[in-house]
């Protein structure tokens, strides 16, 4: 099973409940499930062997639903175990890609953090329209709230003023809780930038945008050799973001509500949106004490003192 758009990029090593809007690239919502210590998390190209804690899950266990990782025949007690089946589903992402030819961004949207490929069974076009909708849901929500106190002549223009207060809307609309610009600074560059977090639905697109913002269009050689434009469209969207996978000299960090600086990518996208206050692209060498990408500990967010 391929990983939809995210295809062969940064698939997370464990299939535990990934956040809303995430591509498969992002690591998992481990914080909610502290007993998943045995799960291997990573943001690399290939899966760190799946299976996680699921090997012996009996159908009766409620824990079934919690994991939401690639479920294969091996999870059923009466089946013959197949060592590769649980990792294979996502690893296929490396080779295959979406079943249809689409633009790169819609391809990215079509696999918003599904921990199981092709599940729930919703057609790609609907996923795209949901992803696009979620961006405007908040605006619409704000509009409808404001409208009650205003005349119906025109819609209120200053809805965005209210958007920085995210908490009130978190409950009402599931997906994006915020719609706002945050400052981004990169080590070594005196002038900072601003990026609209609500324009993204996953870490991957955010990271790519930042890369382009600060480093110009990347000149990484991808599999451009193929003349098949389908393939190009696929690789364009599946090329890993260096900021996220640890292969660059820089890492992407953010300051959260409590003033701590955290590594971007640990928590589900929505949670990130709710807590991020500003971003910093930090030199990897400065990021001392930063845990390696493959985590051995359980659920808590990594924090780092600057």
């Amino acid at each position: 099973m391929d990983g939809g758009s995210g295809g062969g990029v940064c698939t997370s090593g464990s299939m535990s409940t990934v956040s809303k809007e995430d591509n498969l690239m992002v690591s998992t919502e481990v914080s909610s499930y502290p007993d998943e210590a045995e799960l291997e998390l990573g943001l690399g190209l290939s899966l760190g062997g799946g299976g996680g804690g699921g090997g012996g899950v009996k159908p009766q266990e409620q824990g079934w639903a919690q994991y939401g990782r690639i479920l294969t025949a091996k999870d059923f007690p009466s089946t013959v175990s197949s060592s590769s089946s649980s990792s294979s589903s996502l690893s296929r992402a490396n080779r295959t890609t979406v079943g249809t030819k689409r633009r790169a961004d819609s391809v990215a949207a079509s696999n918003n953090g599904s921990q199981v490929v092709g599940w729930p069974p919703i057609r790609a076009y609907r996923m795209n329209s949901l992803a696009n909708q979620s961006k405007s849901l908040v605006t619409e929500d704000l509009n409808s709230m404001v409208e009650k106190s205003k005349s119906t002549n025109t819609m209120v223009e200053n809805t965005y003023n209210g958007s920085n207060n995210t908490n009130g809307y978190a409950k009402k609309k599931g997906p994006l809780n915020t719609s706002f610009f945050v400052k981004v600074n990169m080590d070594g560059i005196p002038i900072g930038r601003k990026v609209d977090l609500s324009a993204h639905s996953c870490y991957e697109t955010l990271a790519k945008t930042l890369e382009e913002m600060f480093q110009g269009p990347t000149t990484t050689v991808n599999a451009i050799g193929s003349s098949n434009e389908n393939y190009d469209a696929m690789t364009e969207s599946t090329r890993p973001s260096k900021l996220l996978d640890g292969s660059s000299d820089f890492v992407l960090t953010y300051e959260d509500k409590e003033g701590d600086w955290m590594l971007v990518g640990d928590v589900p996208w929505g949670m990130f949106l709710g807590s991020a206050r500003r971003l910093r692209i930090m030199r990897t060498s400065d990021a001392n004490g930063l845990a390696p990408r493959i985590q051995e500990r359980n659920g808590r967010q990594r924090s780092m003192r600057i």
Binding site: D2, W64, S84, T97, V98, G99, P120, I122, R123, L137
Partner: protein
């Protein structure tokens, strides 16, 4: 009708004819038989009827493009004007089938060009269609009228431009839910200025802007336009102008329902909808805000199909809207309406026959909203005619489903998707076996079933025992052993399509269906426990089946990760890509 047939088929000359009807009469009568199933039955009666049927058939439906070749089709049916073709396995909609798998229409078009030069209609589902093919279609078939592409891929808006440019007699252009490259909206402007024949236009899923000027002029001059579905970029103001040009519309898909309007614009929009007394289908309403929904009310009286699956409405908004739709038969909504919204459905829509509830946020694990079993139960109480449901939810109980099917025993299509794989009855923690047992026991007319939740083999025992009219079954993350699948294969005599993913069914199950698969359209099994050897055995013993395997790179050599088995008179595929192994 083509009269040269008489000379060509000596066996139907009057001397040897056994039918009491002259051939012309027989053909005339049979020409009125539309259903392709009936036509298949007719063709089996006797040779005369077979011939009369084949000469009089103008529309052919091919459910699996690889089950037959275009040459065979053309040989049997000389007078086809309309073709419906389906290609890839259904799970390709959910990214389970790699790109470039096949189902390319081009080979068909080439044959049609010589055998059916007067072809008028082409309806494709899950096929690969390139721009070259579209151009070929547009320039070769001078009589071409209707093109419908659903869930297809491989083309871009350039191909649409070719269609618009060359097809002078187009009545229908229906581009739905396709994975295409949207290179811009210029294609719409390619319809010539003297072009007036369009009756159906659907470009709702395209994302680029079309020239509104071109669209408005097109809509104005196509007086027979009945179905119009525009994309999100069309604003409310533009919509109003379109409606002014085309109050005769029976099906409307709006663009974005979200724009700043002045009071006057609002009134004009309301008036425009007021003039659309013929609307029976309404969709679109993207990003609808409650502020503007009331403009729809005057147009809703005759609505039979309301598709709100692009509009994240809340329960109150839905309830108010439904108050104005007394004749609703089909309703599609997002689960943002929640159980409360579905209660309103139960109260306001007594004639409802079909309900589809889609998840607004399918990957959210912690969400506390969406719909639950309560909403479904509420609908079942209020809508006894309900026979088609597609329901995405996060929790369900056996008891609720039992109540639902008791209230609505006429289900023909029951597709329940509990979104967490392997989710048990959340109240009792038991498997959901009894739920689906209730469905198959109560709903004797059931044709299509999709199961979900925590299920053991018992579910499949029930299905095999009771679902005697079942034709399509979709299974995911369910079952305990081969026995489950065996029950289905041996019990469901009318089964035509079986699609399975991530279940513990293995070789024994696969091979138990040896005799069965030739009576089915297809079988799909992925991420199950089937080995290559078993597939080879199947292929060897059943030469009229195509047994195709797609392997994952990382899996070991003996595993058959994705298996697709289907009957075919055309033999193994000749266009299979390297990753499809035909055994």
């Amino acid at each position: 009708m083509d009269s040269k047939r008489k000379k060509d088929s000596p066996e139907s000359n009057e001397l040897t004819r056994s039918s009491p009807f002259p051939d012309e009469v027989l053909e005339r009568v049979l020409g009125l038989v539309k259903s392709h199933k009936d036509r298949s039955s007719v063709s089996l009666v006797c040779k005369d009827w077979y011939n009369a049927e084949r000469w009089s058939r103008t529309h052919v439906f091919i459910g699996n493009c690889y089950s037959v070749s275009p040459e065979i089709v053309a040989r049997r049916f000389p007078n086809i004007r309309s073709v419906t073709l389906k290609g890839k396995p259904r799970f390709s909609d959910f990214n389970l089938v790699p790109l470039n798998w096949g189902a390319d229409i081009h080979a068909w078009l080439v044959v049609f060009a010589s055998k059916y030069p007067l072809l008028e209609e082409l309806r494709l589902k899950r096929m690969t269609v390139t721009d070259e093919s579209l151009e070929f279609l547009a320039t070769t078939f001078t009589n071409f009228k209707a093109l419908s592409l659903l869930s297809c891929d491989g083309f871009s808006t350039d191909g649409l431009a070719a269609i618009a440019t060359h097809c002078k007699n187009m009545t229908e252009l229906d581009i739905q839910e396709n994975g295409i490259d949207d290179l811009g909206g210029g294609w719409l402007s390619c319809f010539p200025e003297n072009f007036t024949s369009l009756e159906v236009l659907n470009f709702a899923n395209l994302s680029s802007d079309v020239s509104f000027d071109a669209l408005e002029k097109l809509v104005s001059r196509c007086r027979s336009l009945k179905f119009l579905k525009v994309n999100k970029n069309i604003t409310l103001e533009q919509l109003q102008r379109l409606l002014e040009c085309a109050p005769q519309l029976t099906e409307l898909g709006t663009g974005s329902f979200h724009q700043e309007l002045t009071t006057r614009q609002y009134a004009e929009l309301e008036s425009a909808f007021n003039n659309c007394k013929n609307l029976n289908t309404l969709s679109g309403l993207c990003e609808a805000t409650p502020l503007y929904l009331p403009v729809l009310y005057p147009a809703c009286m005759n609505l039979t199909f309301l598709n709100l699956s692009d509009a994240a409405l809340q329960s109150g908004e839905l309830a108010k809207l439904l108050d104005h739709c007394p004749n609703l038969q089909r309703l599609w909504v997002l689960d943002t309406v929640e159980d409360k919204g579905l209660e309103a459905v139960g109260l306001s829509c007594p004639l409802l026959e079909e309900l589809r509830v889609f998840p607004a946020d399918p990957y959210e694990q912690d969400v506390v909203h969406g719909v639950t079993e309560m909403g479904f139960v509420a609908v079942s109480y209020g809508c006894p005619r309900l026979h088609y449901v597609l329901y995405f939810c996060r929790q369900m109980t056996n008891a609720a489903v039992a109540t639902i099917v008791k209230n609505c025993p006429d289900f023909t299509h029951f597709r329940l998707c509990v979104m967490n794989p392997g989710e048990p009855d959340y109240l009792t923690d038991e498997p959901m076996d009894e739920a689906f047992g209730a469905v198959v026991k109560n709903c004797t007319k059931l044709q299509r079933l999709a199961v979900s939740g925590l299920l053991t083999d018992l579910t499949f025992e029930y299905i095999g025992k009771y679902a005697k009219n079942l034709e399509t079954l979709s299974v995911a993350f369910a079952g305990s052993s081969d026995w489950g699948m065996q029950c289905v294969l041996s019990g469901c005599s009318k089964l035509r399509k079986l699609e399975i993913r991530d279940c513990p069914f293995g070789n024994e199950a696969l091979l138990s269906g040896l005799e069965k698969y030739e009576s089915m359209r297809s079988l799909w099994m992925s991420a199950c426990n089937v080995t290559m050897n078993a597939c080879r055995r199947l292929a060897k013993q059943m030469p009229r089946l195509n047994v195709e395997v797609m392997k994952d790179e990382e899996s070991d050599d003996s595993q058959a990760d994705k298996v697709y088995v289907y009957r075919s008179v055309a033999g193994p595929r000749r266009d299979a890509p390297p990753f499809v192994l035909t055994l």
